[in-house]
Structures are given as C-alpha cells and as structure tokens.
C-alpha cells in the first residue's frame, strides 16, 4: 500500500499540521512516511501545501507530480492540483469559497463542509481535523486509535487535553463527507 497525498490551502488553515498529524498517525500504524512542505515566501499569507506519503515500503521520492488523493482547501489550490490527481484517484474539497468547481470525470470527487462544521462545533481550530476525518473515511489507511496516538505525539503536552475534542472532529468529518 502506498498513498500519495497533497494537502493544499491557505497558510493558517492548519494544512501543515494536518499533514504532520497524518504522518505521525502513519508511523503509529507501522507505516513508512514522508512530509514535504512547500516552504519560503509563498507561505506568508499565500498558499501552503504539503505532500504526505504513507506506505508499507521505504518512501522513495518525497516530491511528486501526481497524487492518489488531493485534499483541497481553496480555489488556487484546486486550480493547481485538480489535474495532478491520478486517474481513479480522489479529490476532496471544502466548497466554502470555491467558485469554479472541479470538472474531471475520471476521478472520485467528494466534498466536506469543513468550515461550516467547525463553526457548528463552536471551535474553528478543529477545521483541519474535520478534513482529516473526511479524508480517512474515503481512504481508510489508518485506524482511529493510531490517529489518537499520532495526535499525542505531534501535539505538545499542554494540548493533550484537547485530544478528545480533536477525535470528535475526526468523527464529524467521517460522518459528513459527501
């Protein structure tokens, strides 16, 4: 099993940390992982993206041009990455702020109202965990208990009290992906 994922959105949406939690969860699942961010000036207020690979084998290239799954959180990222999903792959996006919907017919396209659901939960910060939940519903590559372990390893000790809330958000994502 090798799952090659691009997560892309605005800086500040939790794109990089969602990738980190996914990668740590992969380690807890006993997988090989890599996490390769875009870094530099494009992170300041602009788009941020991260390539995460979760695999049974040693990961070769951490930098890719085609992805099994694209998790898209803004229009610029949709424009950039829709064409880079492999045929038969998955595109998951939050329709909030999307004016030009994806048009491909050879991939699975799903939506998750992440921003809306986070605000319904009363905490906009769990947005990225809702998205992660939606992703894991579509691509069940990691068990919930390992996501919880992944959170424990990637969050500082003082934030560990928030793990139940984060896991609740993962469940909300799983229940609401369309």
């Amino acid at each position: 099993m090798t799952e090659e994922i691009i997560i892309a959105g605005f800086g500040g949406q939790g794109v990089l940390s969602m990738g980190k939690i996914l990668a740590y969860s992969g380690i807890m699942e006993g997988k090989e992982v890599s996490w390769m961010p875009s870094y530099g000036p494009e992170m300041r207020g602009g788009t941020a993206n991260v390539t995460v690979i979760v695999s049974d084998e040693r990961v070769c290239s951490p930098i890719l041009n085609a992805f099994d799954t694209a998790v898209i959180l803004n229009q610029q990222s949709l424009d950039k990455f829709e064409s880079k999903v492999k045929p038969g792959g998955y595109l998951l996006y939050d329709p909030n702020g999307i004016t030009k919907k994806p048009t491909r017919t050879d991939i699975h396209i799903h939506t998750i109202e992440g921003a809306q659901l986070a605000s319904d939960m009363g905490n906009s910060k769990v947005f990225n965990m809702i998205i992660l939940g939606a992703f894991l519903k579509l691509r069940p590559i990691i068990l919930d208990k390992n996501v919880e372990e992944g959170l424990r390893h990637s969050l500082p000790e003082r934030a560990h009290k928030l793990i139940p809330l984060n896991m609740q958000a993962v469940q909300v994502g799983k229940d609401n992906v369309k």
Binding site: E32, V33, W35, M36, P37, Y39, P41, S61, P62, A66
Partner: protein
C-alpha cells in the same frame, strides 16, 4: 533501538549532535537551515550535556570559533546554507591546512549569489573540489534521508577525528525541510578534558611547565616544510580514498542503464527507476554516499558488468557529471540532467531524460 520520532532533517541533525556528545555548535541563521540553531537553542543543550551553542555575529566568526574549538580537541560543528558556506570558505581552507577535525553541514539552496531559498545541489564543486585556496579535500557525506541527517553526525565526527580533517554534510533544502521517521541514537556523554588529553596528543589542551608547546597553524614560510606538509596531506587524502568510499546500489544487479544521483535527487531517481521498470526498462540507481572520496570503482564495476550508459541527475547545471565521466573514461555514454534555480525535477521528467539522452529511440 533508540527513540522513534517524526522530525525535519535539520532538527534530526541538531538532536543527534547533542546526543553524540558534541561539545559546541557555532552558527548563524540562514534559510533553509535555520531550524538547526532554532532547535538547538530551544533544547537547552548546555543543561542537557554541557554543549555550548552560540549564535555568532557572522558566518566568518562562526567558522573561526569552530577552528579554535577543534584545535583544542573539542567536537565542534557548524551549519549554514550556500551563501553562508561561501563566507566560511577561508576558515575551511585554514582548517584543512592546520588539520583540525570538525563537522560542517551545508543545506544547499539555489545560487549563484543569494540565489533563492529553494533546494539545490549546485554547490557540489564548492564542497567536493574545494571552495577555499590550496590543495585540500574535505570528506563529503551526502544524506538522502532524515535518518541519514541524524546518522552522519556520528559518522562525520568519527571520520573527522580519524583523519584530522573537516567533514562536510552536504544536504539540500528538501532533505533539511522534509519530515520523516527517524530513529535517534542514545545519548552519549561528552569527552572529558582528561580523555581529550589522552586521546589527541596534537590538541591544544594547555601547556604545563616542562612540556613541549604545540602549534596548530596553516602557515609555514619554509617552502621545503610546506612542500612536505602538502605531500603529507595528499597521502592522507589517498588513504581516505582507499578506505572510506561509501555508496548504495539500487536495482543495479541486472541494470542496462543506471542513474547516478545523491541526496534528494537520489530519492527522485529511485522513483524513476520504479516507473521505468514498470515499462520494462532495466534501470538502476547508484547513490554515492561519500562524494569525496567518490565511488569511481563502483561505476567501473557496473560498466564491467554490462551497464551501457549513465545519467547523472543533480539539481545543478552539471557538476557531479564530471566525476561520472572521469569514472566512465569514455567507455560508455554519460550525460547530465537537472532542474535548477530551486525547481525540483519530477520522477517522470528524470525518466524521460534517461530515455531521450541515454537510451535513445
């Protein structure tokens, strides 16, 4: 087994320096390796092991602090990225001349000049062929994973002290910034003053009444002595060439054509090997781990076993290709492919280049 973590390459380098029992780090921040000094500062290594971490006023100051601490027999390191490493070249040449052991990491970014902050491998010439003056070499290690960023600190110090020379960890922005699983080594104690005195008779550990004073310098105005010193250095480099070559071969057993790539390009080329084999092409990858000494004999062996051509894949306009061509010595075709300026080649375009430039129609 040590501790399993998810870390950036830069952080792994810093953490394993503390765990190796490194005595001091002197540096100056620059993208894309600022995480090294950030991580070290955050970790309070002075409280953990007594390791000194100091942000110098400039790269020049940092490398000369390394020169001095190394001369005292201390395990000392610095790190920087391309333009910063340029500034350190004077010190590195002095260190080579004075035979001071040290480790420095270069997390390479695009150039020339200030260039860009994105990954590059265009400093091969500077690291491998000597960026400073005089006939000297540094041992150059090329990590291709976060694990190797951690492992090469210990390997680097071991080699630096074995041969009394500088060891360069030649990384790049991609390896420095990416996160991967890493098994960290156990914490080792720092060497005590007594251990240093007993182990390194050349080190400047303080002269006592009745003992001979020691001099560490790269200067000698007596030409006969300087020629002799140069001969001695060359003999040492030859020993390094004979004993310290390291490389990895992937899918080379039955390969017709082989990529030669180090660091992040090796990771990408490994994917190209996979893609090519799916199309029925017998491709392999030779990954030099030491760039000096270079795995020349490994290339000769591959030719002897029937490899018909090599593509040197680097994030440069063609630097390592010169060493590949020297090893091929005209026996088979060898060419270069690489994107530059911070752009990273994709596995697909690397495979296409192999087909077009080496295999032919």
């Amino acid at each position: 087994m040590g501790e399993l973590k998810l870390m950036k390459g830069n952080e792994a380098l810093a953490e394993s320096a503390i765990r190796y029992g490194c005595d001091a780090y002197f540096g100056y921040p620059i993208t894309p390796q600022s995480e090294v000094i950030e991580y070290l500062s955050e970790q309070n290594p002075y409280e953990r092991t007594g390791m000194v971490v100091l942000q110098a006023e400039s790269e020049l100051a940092a490398i000369n602090m390394v020169y001095a601490a190394g001369a005292a027999g201390k395990r000392v390191m610095t790190s920087s990225s391309s333009p910063g490493v340029c500034l350190k070249q004077e010190g590195i040449a002095y260190i080579a001349g004075a035979e001071v052991p040290c480790v420095y990491a270069d997390v390479v970014r695009g150039g020339p000049g200030l260039g860009t902050i994105q990954p590059s491998q265009a400093d091969y010439f500077q690291a491998v062929k000597g960026g400073g003056n005089g006939d000297y070499k540094n041992i150059v290690l090329a990590p291709a994973s976060v694990q190797e960023m951690a492992d090469f600190v210990a390997l680097g110090f071991d080699l630096a002290f074995k041969y009394r020379m500088a060891v360069c960890i030649l990384s790049d922005g991609a390896i420095g910034q990416m996160m991967e699983k890493v098994v960290l080594p156990e914490q080792k104690p720092r060497m005590t003053e007594e251990e240093i005195k007993a182990k390194y008779p050349w080190a400047l550990t303080g002269r006592k009444r009745g003992t001979q004073h020691r001099i560490i310098t790269s200067l000698d105005l007596d030409s006969n002595k300087m020629e002799e010193h140069n001969r001695h250095l060359q003999a040492k480099y030859k020993m390094v060439e004979e004993n310290e070559v390291r490389y990895e071969e992937i899918n080379c057993e039955d390969a017709d054509y082989v990529f030669v790539a180090y660091g992040s390009s090796a990771r990408i080329a490994q994917k190209s090997v996979q893609l090519g084999r799916e199309q029925g092409l017998k491709l392999g990858l030779l990954r030099p781990i030491t760039l000096f000494p270079y795995p020349t004999k490994a290339i000769e062996n591959l030719i002897n076993h029937g490899v018909k051509g090599f593509l040197s894949v680097e994030l440069s306009c063609g630097q390592m290709i010169e060493d590949v061509k020297l090893a091929c010595n005209g026996r088979v075709k060898a060419e270069h492919f690489g994107r530059v300026g911070g752009i990273i080649h994709t596995p697909e375009e690397v495979l296409e280049a192999m087909k077009k430039q080496i295999i032919g129609e």
